[in-house]
């Protein structure tokens, strides 16, 4: 099985889907000739031409809106937002249009668009190249939000997103692009959207997280294992709508739950996860639900010490896991 980086898995998924289905096309800023600022669309312009790997004007609402129109017609657009931080001008198109298309037309129309965006910090990106924006969209029925944590998941979930008949936001951690490498099968496979995934079986504490933080939790779990603490790690994979059943099951398994996000704490995805556990698992819990998250400041500062202070890392995760285990 080939070893691939996270970003190679993304590119591979795009290439395979474009070869499989002539209706799939990519649009966004710098996605064509340049192959994307992160090179996620590297080689696609050469293989599929400028019509199917479309360099658009610098205008995010049009990237989303034109994609939605093409999707309504029957195409399978994959729109790229250059950074998740720059999705804001497209929010009206995503929330008022894509999310509500099927519902408002009583199932007559649909908008099967995939919108990819690199999110997350730790790359000296400062306020506007570091944000986690998933919570903005995570109370919008009609949308699905997918945030893969491994190259294997990235390929299988992106292919599923493109084939999905509803709009999917696909957030890729930009630091994971080249940091994470792993086995990715050459063959065609899809992973189910809406299902979480157990990344590590354990008996003592449960960690529920998503995206790059899964990687930090796995690293911390190996250290804790040396001290006899056995962590169970659930990767949400789809952060909206949530896989409630698996969350409840994972929480019940150990009775001690740590929720982790790189996003600001208040109003984040893990708040909803905590609510699900509180509703269903009160008598299974042996400790208060713990949340580890970024501070409630607008975004990640540029200066390295402040960025490090904000950013999630394996040490912070390890400490929180150890504290919970000892509760």
């Amino acid at each position: 099985m080939p070893i691939m980086s996270y970003i190679q898995a993304i590119t591979t998924a795009l290439r395979e889907e474009m070869r499989r289905d002539g209706n799939v096309f990519v649009l966004g800023e710098d996605v064509g000739k340049k192959g994307g600022v992160f090179r996620a669309t590297d080689g696609l312009y050469e293989e599929f031409g400028e019509e199917r790997v479309l360099d658009t004007p610098l205008a995010e609402s049009a990237i989303a809106g034109v994609g939605i129109g093409a999707a309504m017609y029957g195409m399978r657009p994959v729109a790229e937002m250059q950074f998740a931080d720059f999705i804001m001008p497209a929010v009206n198109q995503i929330i008022s249009e894509a999310a509500k298309m099927r519902y408002r037309s009583n199932n007559d129309w649909s908008a099967p668009i995939t919108i990819r965006a690199p999110y997350g910090g730790g790359v000296h990106g400062a306020l506007y190249h570091s944000q986690s924006v998933e919570a903005i969209f995570a109370n919008q029925p009609g949308l699905k939000i997918v945030m893969p944590s491994t190259p294997y998941d990235a390929k299988g979930l992106l292919k599923a997103a493109i084939r999905d008949n509803d709009p999917v936001l696909f957030f890729e951690h930009k630091r994971a692009y080249r940091l994470l490498k792993g086995d990715v099968p050459s063959e065609d496979y899809v992973l189910p959207i809406g299902k979480s995934d157990v990344k590590r079986e354990g008996e003592d504490i449960t960690v529920i997280t998503y995206g790059l933080c899964v990687h930090f939790a796995l690293q911390a779990a190996e250290k804790l294992a040396e001290d006899g603490i056995d962590a169970h790690i659930l990767d949400l994979r789809t952060v909206y709508p949530l896989d409630q059943e698996s969350i409840i099951e994972a929480a019940r398994k150990t009775g001690k739950v740590l929720l982790i996000t790189e996003d600001n704490k208040e109003g984040s995805i893990i708040g909803e996860v905590a609510a699900i556990i509180a509703e269903h698992c009160l008598f299974d819990l042996d400790a208060p639900i713990q949340r580890l998250a970024g501070p409630d400041v607008p975004s990640m500062p540029y200066a390295p010490p402040m960025e490090k202070f904000f950013m999630m890392n394996p040490d912070k995760v390890e400490k929180a896991m150890r504290d919970l285990a000892e509760y």
């Binding site: 658009t56 809106g65 008022s96």
Partner: protein
């Protein structure tokens, strides 16, 4: 005797009569909806009155068997011309289950009907412009000879989606026709307080496309402009912006009182140019329509409107639990 304008445009007598009849039907349906609203039977109306000529003149210039329309909330004339029926519009007015636009989920005026290639619309204005551009992009990618047609009000031409959509269409030379129905008011705010350029059509220059201002009370003038735009579009010459100058004869909606911001005399003056009257006069002078024929048409339309109203009023609402359906695809 000089040739008639519609003949010069290649329109048959039958076609112009059909145009007039569709305008008339739109007007009578709209008037009925106001009566239903004022008698407490339907909660909301938003009108096409005063804009029928622009809407129907434009729609008749399109290929209504293959072109796509992305209408805005006043476009009852456009959707009627594209195949939506009086009954279906009344089902929407009454918010009944069989409403093809939304099954009673959206307010009236939020059109959409896939079988007639009418894109579903929302309430935040101008979001339909990029959608129409996306459909036109698909036409270009698939090398098909249809166009997309999108409408909006002049106030909406200030939105970012107007700029982003038209620029995108201009850059990629896409077969999309944008028609601004300039009815002089964005709710209460007049044109001078909305748009800095003399005409909305002037904005086309910035998007690398022709911008044409036409008399929106003249269905033949609008027909001509849209027909030419369509010819350019299918010839690969790209998009066009058309501004049809109209007038909103009613208040913004059934919840608005326009006496607070415009003079009664101004509306009365505009009524003199009401296209239902002026086009009727044209057809009579052309010897195509007579008072007698017009009266017959009136009776026929009254019957259509009555039947549509009765049908929709007696139709069932969706079951309350239907509110839970179709958030996502259901297997």
């Amino acid at each position: 005797m000089s040739t008639l304008r519609h003949t010069d445009l290649g329109l048959s007598d039958q076609q112009v009569l059909e145009m007039f009849k569709t305008m008339f039907l739109a007007r009578k349906l709209d008037e009925r909806m106001w009566l239903l609203n004022r008698s407490g039977k339907i909660p909301f109306v938003i009108s096409c009155q005063g804009q029928e000529a622009a809407q129907i003149g434009a729609a008749f210039a399109l290929h209504r068997d293959k072109d796509y329309a992305a209408p805005y909330y006043r476009d009852m004339g456009v959707v009627l011309a594209f195949g939506m029926t009086a009954k279906e519009l009344m089902l929407s007015a009454f918010a009944k289950a069989e409403d093809p636009n939304s099954g009673g989920r959206q307010m009236p005026g939020h059109f959409g009907q896939k079988k007639n290639r009418i894109l579903s619309g929302s309430s935040p204005v101008t979001t339909q412009v990029p959608h129409a551009v996306g459909v036109a992009l698909a036409a270009k990618m698939e090398k098909k000879d249809f166009v997309s047609f999108v409408t909006l009000g002049e106030g909406s031409s200030n939105q970012g989606d107007f700029h982003e959509g038209l620029n995108f269409a201009g850059v990629h030379k896409l077969p999309v026709i944008t028609m601004v129905e300039n009815n002089k008011y964005a709710i209460s705010v007049p044109y001078e307080r909305q748009v800095a350029s003399k005409n909305v059509a002037d904005r086309a220059q910035g998007y690398g496309m022709p911008g044409i201002t036409v008399d929106g009370n003249d269905p033949l003038a609008v027909y001509k402009a849209v027909k030419e735009a369509r010819n350019r579009a299918v010839a690969g010459e790209g998009p066009s912006l058309i501004e049809a100058i109209t007038y909103r004869l009613t208040a913004h909606s059934s919840d608005d009182d326009d006496r607070t911001y415009r003079e009664k005399g101004e509306v009365e003056e505009a009524r003199k140019n009401d296209s239902i009257i002026t086009f009727s006069t044209y057809l009579k002078e052309a010897g195509i329509l007579t008072d007698e024929k017009e009266q017959e048409m009136n009776e026929e339309i009254k019957k259509i409107v009555n039947e549509a109203t009765d049908f929709a009023e007696n139709a069932a609402y969706a079951e309350p639990e239907q509110a839970l359906k179709y958030v996502y695809e259901e297997q």
